[in-house]
Symmetry: C5
Subunit: 355 residues, 5 copies
C-alpha cells in the first residue's frame, strides 16, 4: 500500500560538502539569464545566452541585478559561483531546493534563501525557493523555474518609478524581498477566507467527510506556510542589526517595514491555527449533537411502541381462558388505554425537551 518515492536526500548522502547537487525535480528546465544594470541616469536590461556574459557586472559601478532561472544547470551555477567568489557551501545551498530560509554572512557577500509562496490554479499552496547574493554593487537571484513575483520590481527599475533607481544594491535586495513578502499577504488572506467559509458551512453546507478532510488540509497548509515564513523574522532582524557593511543606514527603515509585515503575517498564522483547532472542536460537538438527536428519535419511537406492541401481543395469545377476550368493550377499552399511554409518553418526552 506504500507509494514508491525517490529520496532527495539519498542523492546527497556522503558527498563531500560543497558538492553542487540539484535536489529538485525540474530536470528539464531551460537556463534563463537576465540582467538589469542601472543607476539614476540609465538602465540596461538584457537576456543572455551564456553565463559568462554576466561576469563583468562584478566590476560595474552601477547597480546590477542578475536573475538566473534553472537550478538544474549546475555547471553554470558553479561557473558564476567561482567568478563571484561564492563559497562552495553557498552553491550547494542554492541548488538544494528544499533548504530552510536563512541568511549567511560572508566577507565578500551576504547569502539569503527565501520561499516564494502562492496558490496555484488548483488552490493548492505552492512554494518556490529563491536565493539572493548581495554584493557591493550587485544582487544575484537564483530560482528553480521561470515565473516569479518580481515583475513589479522590473517595472520600477525600467520606468524609474519610485526611488529604486537612485539607491544601491541594498535597496534593490529590499525591493525583491518586499515583493516576496507582499505575496504572503495574499496567501494569508486566502487562508483566512477558507477558514471563514468552513465556519459558515460547518453545520449545513458540507458533508462530514468533506469537513474533516478540509480541516486537515488547512492544518497542513498552515504548517507549510509557517515553516516558510517563521525563519524570516530572524533573517530580517539580522539584516537590520547591520552586522555587515552591505546595508546602508538609510535603507534600514525599509527592512524594518518588512519586519513589521513578517510579524503581522506570523501573528495571523498563529490566529488561524487557533481558529482551526476551535473549528475541529466545534465539529466534534456537532457530530455528538447529531448523534444525540438520532438517539432521541429512536428512543422516543421505541419507548412508545414497544409497550403498546406488548399489550397487543398479550391479547393475541391463544389461551383457552382469557376472560377479557369475551367482554363486549375490551377492544375499545384497550384502544383507550393505548392512546392514553401514547399521549402521556409524548407529554413526558416533550417535558424532557427531547423534541
Amino acid at each position: 500500500m506504500l507509494k514508491k518515492r525517490t529520496s532527495h536526500y539519498k542523492k546527497k548522502l556522503g558527498l563531500s560538502p560543497g558538492s553542487i547537487v540539484y535536489t529538485g525535480d525540474k530536470e528539464t528546465q531551460g537556463l534563463f539569464i537576465e540582467s538589469f544594470d542601472y543607476n539614476s541616469e540609465f538602465v540596461d536590461k538584457k537576456v543572455h545566452a551564456n553565463i559568462e556574459d554576466v561576469f563583468h557586472f562584478k566590476n560595474t559601478k552601477s547597480v546590477s541585478w542578475i536573475n538566473i532561472n534553472g537550478l538544474n544547470h549546475v555547471d553554470a551555477i558553479e561557473k558564476i559561483g567561482n567568478h563571484y567568489n561564492l563559497h562552495p557551501l553557498t552553491l550547494e545551498d542554492i541548488v538544494n531546493t528544499s533548504h530552510r530560509p536563512k541568511i549567511d554572512d560572508y566577507t565578500n557577500y551576504v547569502f539569503i534563501v527565501l520561499k516564494m509562496i502562492y496558490y496555484d490554479k488548483d488552490e493548492q499552496v505552492v512554494t518556490e525557493q529563491v536565493s539572493f547574493i548581495l554584493g557591493d554593487n550587485y544582487v544575484i537571484s537564483f530560482q528553480e523555474a521561470e515565473g516569479d513575483v518580481f515583475d513589479t520590481v522590473r517595472n520600477r527599475i525600467s520606468l524609474a518609478k519610485g526611488r529604486i533607481r537612485t539607491l544601491g544594491s541594498d535597496y534593490l535586495l529590499y525591493a525583491l524581498i518586499d515583493a516576496v513578502t507582499d505575496h504572503y499577504f495574499i496567501v494569508i488572506e486566502t487562508m483566512g477566507n477558507k477558514i471563514e467559509d468552513l465556519e459558515d458551512n460547518l453545520f449545513t453546507g458540507y458533508s462530514q467527510e468533506e469537513i474533516s478532510v478540509q480541516i486537515q488540509n488547512l492544518k497542513r497548509e498552515i504548517l507549510k506556510v509557517r515553516r516558510a515564513i517563521f525563519p524570516l523574522r530572524e533573517i530580517i532582524s539580522r539584516i537590520e542589526k547591520n552586522e555587515n557593511n552591505f546595508i546602508q543606514d538609510k535603507t534600514i527603515h525599509y527592512y524594518r517595514d518588512i519586519y513589521d509585515h513578517v510579524i503581522q503575517i506570523s501573528e495571523n498564522i498563529e490566529i488561524y491555527r487557533e481558529m482551526i483547532w476551535g473549528l475541529m472542536d466545534m465539529y466534534m460537538t456537532t457530530i455528538s449533537n447529531k448523534m444525540n438527536e438520532v438517539m432521541k428519535v429512536l428512543t422516543v419511537i421505541s419507548t412508545i411502541f414497544i409497550p403498546l406492541t406488548f399489550m397487543a401481543g398479550i391479547y393475541g395469545m391463544n389461551f383457552d381462558y382469557i376472560p377479557e377476550l369475551h367482554f363486549r368493550y375490551s377492544y375499545f377499552i384497550l384502544w383507550a388505554i393505548m392512546i392514553a399511554l401514547f399521549f402521556s409518553m409524548l407529554y413526558y418526552f416533550k417535558k424532557k425537551k427531547w423534541f
Copy 2:
C-alpha cells in the same frame, strides 16, 4: 458556496514602498481636521477646512494636538506628512488600516499605531486604528472615521482639568493612549460577563447549537482583542525605556501606569481563554451525559418489554399441541410471571442507579 471578497492586499501588491494607499472601506468619509493649541495660560480650539491651516503648529512653542479623521483623503495626509517631514513609510502605515500596533522611532518624531476597541450596538467587538505622531511640541492623531474615545481629553484640555495644560506633548500623548486603554477595560469586562452568563446557562438556558456558536464567537472575539492589545506591552516598555528625547523623565511614571493596565488586561485575556476552553470541555461532558441518559431510557424500556413480548408471542402461536394453552390458570400464571419479571428488572436497574 464561497463568498466574493475584495482583497485589501491586492491593491498594494507590487507598489513602491511608501505608496500611500488607503486600505479601508470607508471611501466616502469626509475630511475632518481639528486642533488644540494650548499652554498653562491659554487654549485655542479650532476646526479647519484645509490641511494647510495646521502647518504653522509645527513651530508654535505651545503644545498642539492636531486630530485628522478620514484616511481616504490620501492627498491631505501626504501634504501634512511632507510639511512635518514624516517618512513615506510612516504615511503608508497611517493609511493602512489593518496595521499591527507598533512604535517607530525617527530622529524628528515618534510614530505609534494603536487600535481603539469597543462594542457596537449589536454587541460586536469593533476595532478602529488610530496613529499618533509625537513631535517636539505637537501630537498629530489620525483616525479612519469620526467618533473616538478622546472626548475626555478634549474636556480636560478645554477646562484646564488635571495637570494636562501644564505639561508637554509627551503628557498629551500619554493622555490619549490612556483614553484608548481605559476603554479596553470596558471590553474586557463585557467579555467576562458574557463568559459568566454562558456558564450559568450551560446546563439549561440555551439550546445546544446556540452554545457552540456562542463559544466559538467568544473565542474569535478574544483572538481579535488579544491581537490588538498584546503588542502594546512592547510599545509602552519601549516608550518607558526612553530611547528618544521626546518623553521627559517626570512623564515616565504615567506611561508605567499604562503598562500596569496593559499587563492586567493581557492577564485577563489569558484567563478568559482558559475559562472558555474549560467551558467547551464542560459542554462536551454535558452532551455525553445527556446521551447517556437517553440511552438508559431506551435500554430500560427495551430490556423490560422485549422479553415480555417474546413470551406473549410464544402463546400466540398456532401449534395444534401446546399443552399450556388449555390449562385453566395459564393466563393468570403468565401474568404473574410477567409482573414478577417486570419488577425484578426495575429493581435491577434501580440498583444500578440508572434512574
Copy 3:
C-alpha cells in the same frame, strides 16, 4: 437572561490620571487607623480617630507601622498621601481594589500591592487587596475592610517576640508580606484536599453533574489564586535585587525565604492544574465506559430476544397450510431450538467479555 451588573471601570473612564476613585463595593465601611511605633526599647500602640494623628510618624526615628482600613474614605487617603509625598498614581492604585499585585520604586518610598487570600465560611476563595508604602522608618498599609492576617505581627511587635523589634522598617515590611504568603499555603493545601476528594469520589460518590460543576469551580479557583500569586515572583526578586536603599543587606535573606515560598506555591498551582485536567479526562473516560455498559445490556437483550420473537411470530401466522403446526412435537422442538439459541448467544457474549 443577562444579569444586571454595575461596571467598576465605567466609574473611572476618562478621569484625569491620579484621580482617587474607590472602585470596590464596601461603600459604608468605617475608617479605622491604628499605629505601632517601636524600637528595641519601647512600643507604642494606638488607634486614632483622625488621619492627621499619624502625620508625625514621618519624622520619628523609631519604626512606625500605620495601618488604615477603609479605602472608601478617599479624603483621608488623599490627606495622608499629600503629607507623605505619595505620587497621585500611587493613591489612585491604593483605592483601585482590583489592581494587579505590583511594585513601584519612587525616590522617597517603595509602593507594593498584594492580595490576601483565604477561604470564607462557604469554602469560597476570597481575595482582599492590601497596599504597602515602605519609607525610611515607616510602613503604611492600606486595606479595604477590617480583618486581616497581621495579628501575629501585631503580637510579635507587642511582645518583643522574635527579632522584629530590633530591626528596621524593611524587616517590618518583610514580616507583613510573610504573613500574607503564609496564608497562601493554607489556601493551596485546601485546594489540594479538594482535588484529592474529587479523585476519590470520581467513580462513585458524586452525581455526574456535581462532578463537572466541581471541576469547573476548582479550575476557576486556581485561576483566581494563580493571578494573585504569580506577580509576586517578580515583586520579591525586584526587592531582592535591592535597587533602592530601603532594604538593608541583612534583611535580604528574609526576602529570599519568601521567594522560596512563592516558587513552591506557584509550582503547586501548576501541579494542581495538571491534576484537574487529568481528572477531567478521567471523568470523560468514565462517562464513555458507562455508556458502553448501557449499550451492552441493550444489545445483549435485544440480540437474544428479537430473533426468538421472530420465530414465535412465524408460528403465530394464520396461513391455512403450515405443515409444522400439526406435528405432535413441533412446540417442544421449537422450545428446544430457542433454548439452544439462547444459550449459544449467551455463550458468545460471555466469550466477547460483554458481561
Copy 4:
C-alpha cells in the same frame, strides 16, 4: 465525605521567621548521629550519643562528614546550628520536610536541600528530604528518618576506594549528591517499564477501570518526581558557576557529570508525560471502537429481524378477508422471501464491512 486531615502549614502560621518547627509526621523517630573524619591517611568512623560530640569537627583539618537522622529533635538541630553558625532560616528549612529543593549561599557555608526518591515495597514512589551544609572542611547532612542511599559513599570512604579520600569536602558533597541522583535513574526506569506494560495491556490485559486508574496514578507519580528533580538543574548549575569558594576547580567536572544526569532524567520525564497522554488518547479511541462494535451487532440483528417480524405479524392478523392466507404455497413463498431478505441484508452489511 471529606477526610479529616491535619494541616502542616497551620503549625507554622504566624511564627517568627527562623522558628524551628518540624513539619513531618515521624514524631517518635530517635536521634542518630554518625561521623566520618578522614584524609588520605586515616579514617575515623563513629556513632555519637550527644550532638555536642560532633562540635569539634568544625576545626579539624581533615574532611568531616556528620550525618544526622531525626528532624523531630529540633533542640539538637538548633544546638549544632548555633555552633556551626547556621542562619536561623537555614535551620527552619532543614526541619521543614516539604521544602522545595534549593541552594542558598551564605558567607560561611552553602546550604542545599534535595529529595531522595525510591519505590517502597508497595511500588509507590516515596520521597525523603535530605539537607546538606557544605563548610570549609566538613559536610553535615540532615535526614528525617534512618535508611538512605549513602551506603556506597560510606564504603568508599572506609575502604579508600576511588579518589574520595584524597579530595576535600566539595568532592564529598558531590559523592553524596551523585548517590541521590543515581537512584533517580532507577525510579525513572521503573516508571518507563510501567508505561510499557500499560501499553502492552491496553487492548486486552486489564479491565477498563484498572487502566484509567493506572494512567492517573502514573501521571501523579510523574508530577511528584518532576517536582523533586526539576529544581536540581538550577542547583547544579549554580554550584558549577562556582560563585563561592567552597568548590575547587578540579571538582567542577564532577558536578557537570551530575548535571548531565539531571538533564537526561528531566528529558525522560518529559517523554514519559507525552507517552502517557498518548496512552490516554489511545485508550479513549479503544473505548469508542468497542462501542462502535457493540452498536454494529445490535444494528445488524435488529435491522434483519425487525422487518421479518413485521411480515410474520401481518399474517398473524385475524381479518376475515386476507386472500394470501388461503393460497396453497403462501407459507413457503413467505419463507423464501424472508430468507432472500435475510441474506441480502447480510450481504449489505458484509459489503459495508460491519463484520
Copy 5:
C-alpha cells in the same frame, strides 16, 4: 503480567565516578581497531590487533583518525584513555551507551557524544551511540558495534576526494558529524512518508486497531529521534562559538552548515508531531462519524417497522368484538395505511438527510 527486565542503572549504582562500566547488551562484540593517518601527500590506512598500536598517533604531525568498535572491551578503552590523557568521566561516558548527546571541553581535547540513527530491516528506528575525541591532530571515535555511516568519509580520505586531505583534525571531525546528520534526513524522510501513507489510508485502507497502533508507534519513533537530535543544536552552536582552539576559523562555515541541517530536521520533527496529533483527532472524528451512520441505519429501520409491527399486532388480537376484522376491505385499507406511513417516514428521514 510484568516482564522481567535487567536494569542498566543498577549495574552502576554507587560506583565511584569514573568507573568504566559498559551498560549496553553487546557483551560478546569483538574489538576492532582501525586507523587512518594522512596529510595532503600520503594516506596510511591500517587495522590493528592491539590497542597499544595506535598510541604513537598522539605525536604524529599528520592527521590521524582512530576508530574503535566494541565498547565492551573496557580494558582497551581504559588503556587508550590513559595514554591520551582522557578524564575518567569521559571514559565512563564513552562506555555508557545510553548517554545523552553532549559536548565537553577539556584543556587537551573536546569530547562529543552523538547518536547514529537509521531504520533497520524491520523498518524500526535504531540508534547507536558514537563518541568522538578531538585532539590537536587526531580524532578518536568509539562505537558499540561494527557497521556505521562513515564509509563515505573513509572513501574521501583514501581517494583524496574533496578537500578533506588538505585540512586538519577539526575538518575530519566535521566530516564525521556531517555523515551522521546526513542520515538523519533519511530517517526524517521515511517518517514523513509513513505519516503520508497513514493519512491516505485513514478512511479506508487499514483496520481501526492497526491505525491506532501505527499512530502510537509513530509518536514513539518521533520522541526517540527528537531526543537524539535536539541536543545537537547546542552542541554545534558551542563548537561554532569556538571556545577552544581545536576548531580553526575557516572550518566554522562547515559546522554552520551542519547547524542549518539540525535546525531543519528539528523543524520537520515538530511539524510531524503536529501532523500526528491532527491525524489522531481526524481518526477520532472518523470513528464518531461511523458510529453516527450505524445509529442512523438502526434508527431508520426501527422507527419505520416498530409502529407497523404494532398495527399488525393490533389485528392479531383475539378479542371477540373487533369490528374492523369483519369489514371486506380492512386488510387492504391497512396495507394502504402502512405503505403510506412507510413512505412518509422515508421521506422524513430523507429530508433530515439521514441517508
